[in-house]
């Protein structure tokens, strides 16, 4: 090892304080050995202890999608989502798609329908159950999110989601939106535009659908009986996709 800076007091020439040198060298070595460990502990503790601070437990955010108003071929909600969240909009199998349009056709009757599919923000989310680190979590107001700081990229949540609502970031990203943290090697999905919702706005897809004049998506608090979404859910026949799984989804559909 090369001479380490040992002490501030000058040493008599030719007389190095060997013990002092050894002491500092040992301390330095210990530092080198311990630093990565300390750094790892920092990383481990970097995750906020309580990521749900601020969400109102009395609220259950949800969406009601009227597929009879959803036009086949219209992708305004998808485009709005991509723009809002900084997604590329690519549709390669490795590209992230937080919301997609599904065209369905009943085999027997030939009846066709179109509807958007995204994270259903389940009350009993399988992605949260299977996540080993707790990175996949549900906020008190029902929004299901991924904590990008503790996601290890195991993709178990992608396997567990019955709706294929999650994407894995396969390559490095640039030009990200400050409100929407993303990262290579982690899993992501519809956040219900949580950054907008927390500002009192509606998700980007809802706004775009409304601006296009379709008004096929209603967003609101499912727990508040006075909200428009609750009133509609109470008066129309609505469905959850894969009701058989009993996940109590926050996204409901009309007309399917």
């Amino acid at each position: 090892m090369k001479q380490a800076p040992t002490t501030s007091t000058p040493q008599p020439s030719g007389q190095t304080d060997r013990r002092g040198f050894l002491g500092v060298a040992a301390a330095g070595l210990a530092g080198i050995l311990l630093a990565p460990g300390v750094r790892l502990i920092e990383i481990a503790q970097a995750a906020p202890a309580n990521p749900v601070t601020g969400a109102n437990p009395k609220v259950r955010w949800g969406m009601l999608i009227d597929s009879t108003k959803c036009a086949s071929g219209c992708t305004d909600c998808v485009t709005a989502c991509n723009t809002e969240n900084g997604l590329s909009g690519g549709t390669l199998p490795t590209d992230s798609q937080w919301i997609r349009k599904i065209e369905i056709k009943e085999v027997k009757t030939g009846k066709t329908q179109s509807l958007p599919m995204m994270c259903q923000h389940c009350a009993e989310p399988p992605c949260v159950d299977v996540c080993p680190t707790g990175a996949s979590f549900k906020r008190a107001d029902g929004i299901v999110l991924v904590d990008k700081h503790i996601c290890i990229g195991c993709r178990y949540c992608v396997m567990a989601c019955p709706y294929k609502a999650r994407s894995f970031v396969h390559e490095s990203l640039s030009n990200q939106k400050p409100d929407v943290p993303r990262g290579m090697g982690t899993v992501e999905g519809c956040t219900l535009c949580v950054h907008k919702v927390d500002r009192g706005e509606s998700p980007a897809c809802v706004q775009a659908c409304s601006a296009a004049g379709h008004g096929a998506i209603v967003f609101g608090d499912l727990n508040n009986p006075e909200s428009e979404i609750s009133k509609r859910v109470a008066s129309y026949a609505t469905r959850q996709i894969r009701e058989d799984l009993n996940l109590d989804t926050g996204v409901r559909y009309i007309g399917i």
Binding site: A44, T91, E103, I104, C131, T133, M184
Partner: protein, 397 residues
């Protein structure tokens, strides 16, 4: 008979050649993992439809084989078959090495392998993955203690107790591995309590196949001939495990075939799935089950060492095919969101997903196997895991 364990001499060119080749393969595997981590999973064949690819096939195979490799030791410690006792240390060593190899591949295939410390410090106990982290580490600790109890004279009295503990733990461990798939509600091929016992049976068959290969290899190269009666016993045992595994697979598919809603999945896996159908019938069933059964049970071939080696290799190959079909084939078949409807979207709804593993995935997986080899080859030289003589094992009690 007194058992004397003795390490391999390990000074021949063959030994160093083998060790060097395995170390090189391990290094290449690690380099492949670094490449994958640097560029992201875009350099693999995996995508948002097939999220678990070839590395998982290798990793799950190795992890499953690990618990099964301990079986020979359990025969001695738990079931009182003392003839197997001299082979128990090798069995435990293999269990350790296979688990280390499998977990390394699994870990290096994470999107963020650098966050391993997060996986060790943040636990969601409802996740079978999180429980597996504990089951895997606990298993390693227990097997190390077990080895100590077997190989250190003063500790010998405890070897049965620790061996029993390790046996129970390995059952829990493979239950955990099978439940990774068993506890998935959304996928048609999974979500069945059968996955746990199926994986336990598979572990017995994969683990014993690997054990037999290593034992016969070590016996051949160290010139310690293996007792023919012991060889016959192990071969017969492997045949029983292969047959049991095939039975579980049969029940799995019969049950699915009975349910109308599973008809599409079964038609895909058994008839129309292309590569997956071929791997199932040719790989898993013919080469991995039927052929080994014939080789291991036929009066002539079951006496031949070469044929037993071939059978064990086939079981491993068939096992890899089975893991490929189970893990990847089941993801390739589209999730059913709207029964009775044709669906289409930009995200692969309603269509069979394509997947072709790339070179880095192969190298990472093979590197996992090589790492197992490095550990075993080094350990056999450093410590006495093998009995000095193996030609009278079956009569040793």
């Amino acid at each position: 008979m007194k058992i004397t364990l003795r390490q391999l001499e390990g000074r021949s060119a063959g030994y160093y050649g083998l060790l060097g080749a395995l170390a090189l393969l391990t290094g290449i595997g690690l380099a492949a993992a670094w490449y994958m981590e640097h560029h992201g999973h875009i350099v693999t064949g995996m995508n948002n439809q097939i999220v678990w690819g070839l590395p998982h096939v290798f990793a799950v195979f190795l992890v499953v084989a690990a618990s099964g490799a301990l079986n020979v030791a359990s025969m001695a410690s738990v079931f009182g078959k003392t003839a197997y006792k001299p082979l128990a240390p090798l069995s435990a060593l293999l269990a350790l090495a296979l688990l280390v190899g499998g977990l390394t591949v699994l870990m290096l295939d994470l999107g963020r392998p650098d966050r391993l410390i997060v996986a060790m410090t943040h636990f969601n106990f409802k996740s079978i993955f999180a429980l597996n982290v504990i089951l895997y580490s606990g298993f390693m600790g227990l097997v190390v203690v077990y080895l100590w109890a077997m190989m250190e004279r003063r500790m010998n009295p405890y070897s049965s107790l620790v061996g029993f503990g390790a046996f129970l733990w390995r059952l829990a461990l493979t239950t955990g591995t099978g439940s990774i798939f068993g506890f998935l509600i959304g996928r048609q091929a999974f979500g069945s309590a059968l996955m746990a016992p199926l994986f336990i049976v598979l572990s017995l068959s994969y683990g014993l196949a690997v054990f037999l290969l290593v034992l016969l290899g070590a016996s051949h190269w160290s010139r310690r001939p293996l007792d023919a009666a012991m060889q016959a016993r192990l071969a017969r045992l492997l045949a029983i495990f292969v047959a049991t595994a095939a039975y579980f697979v049969l029940v799995y598919h019969l049950t699915n075939l009975y349910f109308a809603k599973q008809g599409g999945l079964e038609r895909f896996l058994l008839l129309e799935g292309g590569l997956y159908t071929t791997l199932f019938w040719l790989g898993q069933m013919l080469l991995g089950s039927l052929l080994p059964l014939i080789l291991l049970l036929h009066p002539r071939s079951s006496q031949s060492r070469a044929m037993i080696v071939l059978a064990a290799l086939l079981v491993i190959l068939g096992g890899m095919a089975q893991m490929y079909v189970t893990i990847i084939g089941s993801q390739a078949y589209p999730l059913v969101l709207f029964p009775g409807h044709q669906v289409s979207s930009s995200f692969g709804d309603g269509v069979v997903s394509a997947y072709a593993p790339t070179l880095p995935e192969w190298l990472l997986g093979l590197g996992g196997f090589a790492m197992v080899g490095v550990i075993v080859v080094l350990a056999l030289k450093l410590l006495g895991f093998l009995p000095e003589r193996m030609d009278q094992l079956a009569d040793s009690h």
